[in-house]
Amino acid sequence: MTSHTDGPVLVMMSGGVDSSVAAALLLNAGHEVVGVTMKLWGGPSDTGCCAVSDVDDARRVADRLGIEHHVFNFGDDFERKVVAPYVDDHASGRTPNPCIECNRHLKFDRLVRRADALGFDRIASGHHARVVDTPSGPRLARGVDDAKDQSYVLHVIDESVLRRLLLPVGMMTKTEVRAVAADLDLRTATKPESQDVCFITNEHGRKSFLGDRIPLRSARVQNSNGDEVGRVESVELVTIGQRKGLGLVGGTDPRYVLDIDAGRGRQPVVTVGEKADLAVDHTPLETWRWVGETLDDRELSFQCSAHGSPEPGRVIDGRVEWAVPHRRIALGQSVVAYDAQGCVVGGGVAGRLPL
């Protein structure tokens, strides 16, 4: 953890076990702790945070710990910065990660500004990641529990925020977190994890959500020669590497989505190919930002999805050159670079790789 000064800590409490334990550990370490639950999504939810029952859990854990708890309604910001871009991205054939955008704009920006206004110089959360001090400043590093590490979705946190951020459960395994919660008799000790996008319900799904907001467009499915081999009902729901639901005739070898052209105003086209065609030697980067020093041409490891395994490569001329062939990355997916110590050293967004 970074060095701290005296003063209260604002800890984000989602109503889950990790943030419950984070609050408890900070309190135990002698901090003055105030809990906050952000109300982000006002619509129906059966998957993630923001449900009234989660707010209740956060509040009751705070009561149990004897700390103050508040609820901040950032619903308008969430709609503008997360939900609307999520819908737009799908409309243009991209594969967004709304959790990353929520971290970027809400948890580690909007809330930080609120914390400033209210006089908190430090904030905390229950994410599985660590903030480590390096000679060139604080860096975000992987949490010690590999299976739960969330550094990928947190890579967007600005250095100025890292400097004041406390991530107390980053040093623990999930098993240890649950043990602490059970030990303290917190009601969230055995609560299942939220995994999915909080504003997409399991009951109705992504198709229904997007369909309520944008017209879903059918697409022609073609092979790499341009021959039509099937159709999909909504191009917005197709992702790179997808194998099922492409309306292909049976009997052939499995086909995978290699490319999506959802260009507005044109007939959307999905191109499929064999599994071998999914492997590429590089991934173009639409955007890229080094955290500290520029590490072009340096061997690093790159992670391209929340639970993807890191693979070796180098950033050269605005693209990742893979050490060994890598599966195609969908346009819009985040690519995060780590050094050998597991620190985030860079991050950006994958561009579209032409066939």
Binding site: H70, V71, N73, R113, A117
Partner: protein
């Protein structure tokens, strides 16, 4: 760095419109009745009959206080139940369309909207215009119930209930007129102000009675389908074991509030004006006085203001930390602040409405509370303004 000194801060309670402290008269009435009347008043034995007598005494006293007949008083669990009973009870009984103002409490608004009813926009001054209501009633033939609140719970604006009832009688003669007078009892004489309404909702905890007891006043001849079926209590209009102690405490609070009203309207109105003027002189253009300058009459104890370019949620946090308890718009079930539908109905922009603050005074409010509020609020507003609004 502001230290948050929650525990040492004095408590300044300016949220009486949400709930006001229990009056001594109500407390002793409740304690005495709950000791004495353990029996169910629907029973036939001596103890039950005593409880029944106490309940009906409370009903008689409340009715007398409000210039109604005892048969008109139906005890409920509070204002929300009374509102639901009025709107849904009429609709279930005779169908038709419900009409209410867009600034009603959610206990009216939701039943009306749920039944596909019509809402009438508020005027810029926060009131409901009889002319605008007339236009709606003339355009819609099937109106069976009209509901307009007596005093708005956010802004404190007082509606012209006699005028609105007249318009309803003229334009929709068969419609029942309901008013949610939950916020009004401390500030207005309901004997006159809502005398012509067919249905009136009132509740205990806004006037110093306990939470969990209220009443729907039902004019003779008004028929409702009951919301709660069961043992036929309250003349078949509201089933459930009657809350004898609650009814006595509610009535005791109502009597006390009524007795002190002329004096407290004067006293609290002066304190409210001192609060507003004090804030205005310290904050100038950073603050907008929402309805007090607008022309519509406003209940004496409610001060509604809007601070420019700041978020009430952040302001409430700082005020709370300093020991001042106030409110913004209505809070949603999670405890977060939702944008105010009342201000929206007045045509106030959603972004502007984010800076709203309701300071509501009540029977325990003192000069010292106002001094404290004037010392706490301006620096908190200045701090947030300096930080980009919070």
């Amino acid at each position: 760095m502001v230290t948050i000194e929650r525990h040492e801060a004095p408590e300044v309670y300016l949220d009486h419109a949400a709930s006001t402290p229990l009056r001594a008269e109500a407390r002793s009435a409740w304690l005495e009745a709950s000791e004495r009347h353990h029996a169910n008043p629907t029973g036939s034995h001596r103890a039950a009959r005593a409880a029944r007598r106490a309940l009906d005494d409370a009903r008689d006293d409340l009715a007398a206080l409000l210039d109604r007949s005892p048969t008109e008083v139906v005890f409920t669990s509070g204002g929300s139940e009374a509102d639901n009973m009025a709107i849904r009870g009429v609709l279930h009984d005779r169908g038709g369309t419900a009409v209410c103002s867009a600034g009603e409490h959610h206990a009216v608004l939701e039943p009306v909207e749920h039944a596909g009813g019509i809402t009438v926009a508020l005027e810029a001054d926060g009131s409901v215009s009889p002319d605008r209501l007339a236009d709606v009633l003339r355009a819609e033939e099937s109106v069976s119930v009209v509901s307009i609140m007596t005093v708005n719970n956010e802004t404190g604006v007082i509606n012209d209930i006699p005028g609105l009832v007249d318009v309803t009688r003229a334009c929709a003669p068969s419609a029942v007129f309901h008013t949610d007078a939950v916020q009004a009892m401390s500030w207005l004489d309901l004997r006159t102000h809502v005398a012509s309404a067919d249905l009136v909702s009132i509740t205990g905890h806004k006037i110093g009675g306990p939470v969990g007891i209220g009443a729907l006043l039902m004019g003779d001849g008004v028929v409702l389908d009951p919301l709660i079926l069961g043992g036929g209590q309250e003349r078949g209009r509201r089933a459930g074991t009657p809350d004898v102690a609650g009814a006595l405490a509610f009535t005791a609070a109502a009597v006390a509030a009524d007795a002190e009203r002329p004096e407290s309207v004067k006293r609290l109105g002066a304190l409210r004006d001192r609060l507003i003027n004090g804030l205005r002189s310290q904050l100038g253009d950073q603050m907008m006085v929402t309805v007090l300058d607008g022309g519509a009459p406003v209940a004496a104890g409610i001060a509604h203001v809007i601070f420019c370019d700041l978020e009430a949620e952040a302001l409430l946090f700082l005020l709370d930390a300093a020991g001042l308890h106030a409110a913004a718009a209505s809070s949603c079930s999670s405890g977060a602040q939702d944008p105010s539908h009342v201000l929206a109905a007045m045509g106030i922009d959603r972004m502007v409405a984010q800076g709203s603050l309701r300071l509501s005074l009540g029977h325990t409010t003192t000069d010292a509370d106002i001094d404290a509020a004037l010392a706490i609020i301006p620096p908190a507003v200045q701090r947030l303004t300096a930080c980009g609004g919070g």
